[in-house]
Structure formats: structure tokens, C-alpha cells
Amino acid sequence: MNIQVFFSNIRPQLIHHLSLANDEICAAIAWFTDQAIAEVLMKSAQKGVKVSLIVENDEINHQSRIDYQTLQQHGIQIIWANVLTGGKMHHKFCVIDRKKVLWGSYNWTYGGAIYNKENLSIVEDDPNLAQLFLEEFNQLLNEFGPKITENLQQELINKTQEWRLAIQLIEAEIAYLQQQKSDYETIIEQYYYQLKSTLGDLLLRHLSLKTEWAKREAELTVKNQDKQRYEGYRAEYERVNAQLSQAKEVVELDKDTEKKLKKMYREAIVLGHPDKFMHDPAKQQKAQAIATELIAAYQRRDLSKVTEIWQLLKNGTAFGIDWSESKNEDDWQKIYTRLRLRRDDLLREIALLEVDEIMVIYRQIGNFEKHFSDLRIQLEQDIKNLEKQLKTR
């Protein structure tokens, strides 16, 4: 067992270890009045760490500057211990991620930090030891913890956690779908670029001959349906011409870079998704602009730009759902509904892309080479026929 024992500089050690928590913090601390530690716990809770605190139900705690209600709104479970025998819940231990234990004389107070002679022992990786402390913790929970039916506050916390989970899941799904959609669009972009560079001239020649032919036919038959066909071809020519002239080259990345790009992209989408900020139009607009820039950068395969945006979003606390803000059922529902609608839109858009002729070809073969060579043969044949027909008229 590797044990570290501290008699000074205890507070920084404590804060350091608490902020490293990944899954769970269980602490039984007689007195908890240090606001800095409260901040650390809220930040952890925000990351998704499950935080449970058992504290003594007395004046010292109640009159401290810590707002326990805010802690609870962050999803932190607070248990008030009333020892019926007249003694106190005098523990000062904390188990982190079911393997790290911190214990000693040290309370989470300013007094403990500044004036007192205190000690703190830390064992970083000992699940067995942690288990011993957790057993005691669970006993305390049973003794002082909420009786489910009578504790509405707990229900609210549970609800918050449920919503958080649901929202995090759907955000992950959106990120995945957005990436899929962007990838499809990239393939289509690639198709048009290759089409432009290999067959562009032939394609336009074919369409212009077809248009010319339809024009003459319409003049000859004096039929509306032939006139409409001619107008259809003419519009098609314009459309294809515009599409080809817009087609840009798509950069091909090596596997690792591609993988990294995808990961960054997905994370950035979650961080900056505009639908999260429906209560704040200014923020939403900003997020929208960033999202547009992000998608464009991804489709250009511009890793440095995607990383830059990712970093920007990561640093900015402005983005991401503000879990500290008190929300009622309706607010959660609204956020969730917006996200779900976005998810459904993406699913629809992807379904449409999947049946796109270009995607169908791509899925069958994996590249466009054969398609282009077949198309070339067909176009050349058609052009020959059209030229012949136009000459005989």
C-alpha cells in the first residue's frame, strides 16, 4: 500500500485530488464550509461525476457561506446527519472513483486550512481499502439518507441526472449523424469534382446537343410537351453547369489524420450545438455561425481549422449547457425536444443522401472510376447520335 501523509499544504492536495475524479466522489465530512472545495465539486458534477456528501446537521454547516441548494441543483447529493445518540457524525473521509481514499483530521473548512494542526492521509489506488470506507459510507447513507417516498428534493436531483443523461446521449448521436452527413456530402462533392475534371466538357457538350435537339423538335412538332422538354433540358444544362463550376477539390487525408479530424469534429459539434442555447438568442446566433464554419472546415478536411474551433469551444465556458442554472421540467423538455428535432432532421437528410444516385454508386463499388468510364462511353455514343440527328435535319 502506497500511502502519503500530509501535515501541511493539505488544502491544495485535497482540491487537486477532488478535481481528478472521473466517476464518483463519496465524502463523509463533519464540517464543510470551504467554498473553493464546493466549486471543485460542482465542476466535477458538471462533468458527470456523481457526488454524494454526508455532513453534520448543525449550525456550523448551516451558517457557512456554502449554498447547499446550489450544490443540489448541480446534482450533488447532500445528506444531513443527525446522530440520535447525541454524538456527532465526526468522520472526515472521502472515497474517489472507488479506489482512492483521503482521510485524516482535516475538515473541509477554512479553519482547518488556516489555523489548525491537521493531518491527511492519501492512498491513491487501493480498491480494497476504498471498499472498507464505502461500507461505512453506505451505512451512514442508510441511517441518515433519504427515504425515497418522502424526499422530493432527491427526486429533482434524479430527474436532473436523467435529463442530463438523455441529453448527453442525444448530443452524442447528433454529433455522429452530423459527421455521417458531412462525410456523405464530401463524397458527393468528390464525385462532382472528379466528374468535372474527367467528363465535364463531354457532359456539357452532351447536354447542349440534347437541348439543341429538343429545341428543334419543339419547333417542328409545335407541341407543348416538346416545348416543356426543351425548357427542361435547358434548365438542366444551367444546373449542371453551375454545379460543375462550383465543384471544389476534396483533400484526401491519411487514416490517422482522418480519424483525428472526425473525433475533433464530433466533439466540437457537441460543445457548440446551437440548439442548446435556445434561451439565449445572442449565444445561439454565435453558436450557429461557429457551427457553419465548423462544418465547412470539416468538409474541406481542414484539420487545423477544426482543431482551432474545437479549442475555442473547449476553452469557452460560454458554450455547453449551463447545468448550474436551475431548470424545471419544462425547460429540460424544451431543450430535449429541440435536440430530438435536430436529430430527426439529420436522420431524414441522411436517408435522402443515402438514396442519392451518387451515394448508391459509391456504396456498390467504393469509387467512381468504373461509373465514369461507363458514362464516358455512353456520352460519346449519345453525342455521336445527336450530332448525326442534328445534321440530317
Binding site: 417542328l220 412538332t221 409545335v222 407541341k223 407543348n224 410537351q225 440530317t392 435535319r393
Partner: protein, 322 residues
């Protein structure tokens, strides 16, 4: 005005007509809602029938249980139709001049097309209703099948006859279309911009033209189809008569409705799109829906199909008389 229309034009006359026509057509503006004019005595319309009288028209077919030739069946059908038109122009005991009617024949040993009127009307282009009434060739009996309360009864009915069956020689269809255009151009020039329901041209043939290639035939058809009164373009309908058992195609909506036969496709391109006022009748006949335009043609038609086709081609305009 119909009596002034010359059935054959000299080159100089044709040039003169072309000049007059250019002026007339440039002055006549098409209505935004075409094919809405009523046919009155002051604003009559015209019907022009082009009849194939080539050698192949003497092929024998069975019509109404009797063996007959195509030429005979066509003559009978046309005489019946003229008789019916004449009857329908009779209002309150007087004959009204709603229509002027022309018949152009092609074949019959002639290399050119010609006016197919016979007897007193011989050589005329468009004839008036009163001329039609006064100058039939003979009166014959015709067998009429009628279905009364589900029972088919056959009776004899008197029928006036204006044309007799003719057949022989080649099929100068292009010449017939050109002649039709000559007549119609004169008819339109003579209109002086009156709001008349446009003439309808029905070409009945059993074979391919022997005097022009596809392009020439299309050009000749175009000459007819681009002519217009203020009320709309002249309509050109084509009926291909067949002695085979193939299912007739009436009023196709797209070229795919027809067999991949070059001749069928040519007739399809030559024929006009039918104006919307015909749609209800056509849909009723063909059992096809009303969406999209019908092209005025029949392919592989037997005589029964020809009769139905002519009914639609002519009765819709008869319904516009006032």
C-alpha cells in the same frame, strides 16, 4: 368566303397568299384562353378530311359483319359523318352555315393530291352546308346496328352519299398536307381576323407516304399546325388504319404509349396536342386519366376505332355551335 378558295394554286398565287397570310397572322393575336370561341353563322369553323386513296386501300376487311375494303369502309364512315354534321346544323327548320368542309384525296393513280369531291362539287375546296345538302351523289341504304335495352337490332337507314370509294397508286401524303395548308392559308386570310374556332384537319391513311421523308412530312405538318385564328392553332389529327389485329392506340399521351414503330412515332410527332376541351371526351373513350395532354392520333385503328376517333374530333366542335 369558301367558294373563293381555290383548290389548286398557281405559283404566283401561292406567293401572293403567303404575303397576305404573313400580314394576317401578324395581326391576329392568339387569345390567352384558346379554343373558347363559339361557332356561329358569322364565325364558322372548318373541317378538312385528308383521305388516303392509294392502292392498299382496297385491302379487304370485315366491317359490321360484312367483308368490305378499307376504301369502302372509309367512304361509308365519312358519308355517315357528313350526313350527321348536316343533320346537326339543322336548327329550327333551317340549315345553319356553321362549318365549311373540305376533302382532299391522295393516291388514285395521281402523283399529286386533289379535291376529292365528286359530281357537282368536283374540284371544289371547302363547301358550305347548303352545297352539301344540295349536291349529294346518290341516296343509298345503310345497315345500322342499334342496341336497345340490351338487344342488338339491325335496321336499314337511308344515307346520302358524297364520295365513292377510290383506290390505286401510291401514297403522296406530303402533297396532301401541302394542299391542305394551301387551302387553310386562304381560309385564314379570308377570315379577316374574326374570332373563329380553328379548323380541324383529319388525315386518314393506311400506309407510309411515298413522296417525302420524315423531315419533309413533319415540315408539311408544321405548316398546318402553326396556322392559327385568334382562337387557336389549326389542329392536325392523324388516323392510321390497320387490317391487323393489333390493339388500336387512340389519343396517346406520350410517345411510349405507341409501339416502337418508326411510322407510329412519325405520326405522333406530326399530330397536334389536343386542347383541354377535348380531354373529357377522350378520357371517356380511352379510359385514361385526364392529366397530361393527349396527342390527336390513332394508330392501328380499325374502322370502329376510326368512327370513335372521328366522333371526338368533330363532335366537340359541334358542341360549340350557337
Amino acid at each position: 368566303m369558301s367558294n373563293l378558295i381555290k383548290s389548286q394554286l398557281l405559283p404566283a398565287e401561292r406567293t401572293a397568299i403567303q404575303q397576305l397570310l404573313q400580314t394576317a397572322m401578324s395581326q391576329t393575336v392568339l387569345k390567352s384562353k384558346p379554343y373558347t370561341a363559339y361557332i356561329t353563322r358569322k364565325t364558322p369553323s372548318a373541317m378538312l378530311f385528308l383521305i388516303d386513296q392509294s392502292g392498299s386501300m382496297d385491302t379487304e376487311i370485315v366491317f359490321q359483319g360484312q367483308t368490305t375494303t378499307k376504301a369502302q369502309a372509309v367512304a361509308l364512315t365519312l358519308n355517315t359523318l357528313l350526313d350527321e354534321i348536316l343533320n346537326r346544323c339543322n336548327r329550327e327548320g333551317e340549315l345553319r352555315e356553321y362549318f365549311q368542309i373540305g376533302i382532299i384525296g391522295y393516291g388514285n393513280q395521281d402523283t399529286d393530291a386533289y379535291s376529292a369531291w365528286q359530281g357537282a362539287l368536283e374540284g371544289k375546296a371547302f363547301v358550305r352546308m347548303s352545297q352539301l345538302r344540295d349536291h349529294y351523289l346518290s341516296m343509298t341504304q345503310t345497315t345500322v346496328e342499334q342496341t336497345i335495352r340490351g338487344r342488338v337490332t339491325v335496321s336499314q337507314k337511308p344515307l346520302r352519299e358524297w364520295i365513292t370509294p377510290q383506290s390505286g397508286g401510291l401514297t403522296p401524303m406530303k402533297a396532301a398536307l401541302e394542299l391542305a395548308a394551301d387551302w387553310l392559308e386562304q381560309w385564314i386570310v379570308a377570315l379577316e381576323d374574326k374570332d373563329c374556332y380553328p379548323p380541324i384537319v383529319i388525315n386518314i391513311t393506311d400506309g407510309e407516304a411515298t413522296d417525302g421523308d420524315d423531315t419533309e412530312l413533319l415540315q408539311a405538318a408544321r405548316r398546318i399546325k402553326t396556322l392559327h385564328t385568334a382562337d387557336g392553332n389549326v389542329l392536325l389529327l392523324n388516323v392510321h388504319l390497320s387490317d391487323t389485329e393489333h390493339t388500336p392506340v387512340l389519343f396517346p399521351q406520350k410517345s411510349n404509349d405507341l409501339p416502337e414503330d418508326n411510322y407510329a412515332q412519325l405520326l405522333y410527332r406530326m399530330s397536334s396536342e389536343m386542347p383541354a376541351i377535348y380531354n373529357t371526351d377522350i378520357a371517356h373513350l380511352t379510359q385514361k386519366d385526364l392529366r397530361g395532354a393527349y396527342t390527336g392520333m390513332a394508330f392501328n385503328a380499325n374502322i370502329k376505332a376510326l368512327v370513335s376517333f372521328l366522333q371526338i374530333g368533330t363532335t366537340t366542335s359541334m358542341g360549340r355551335t350557337k
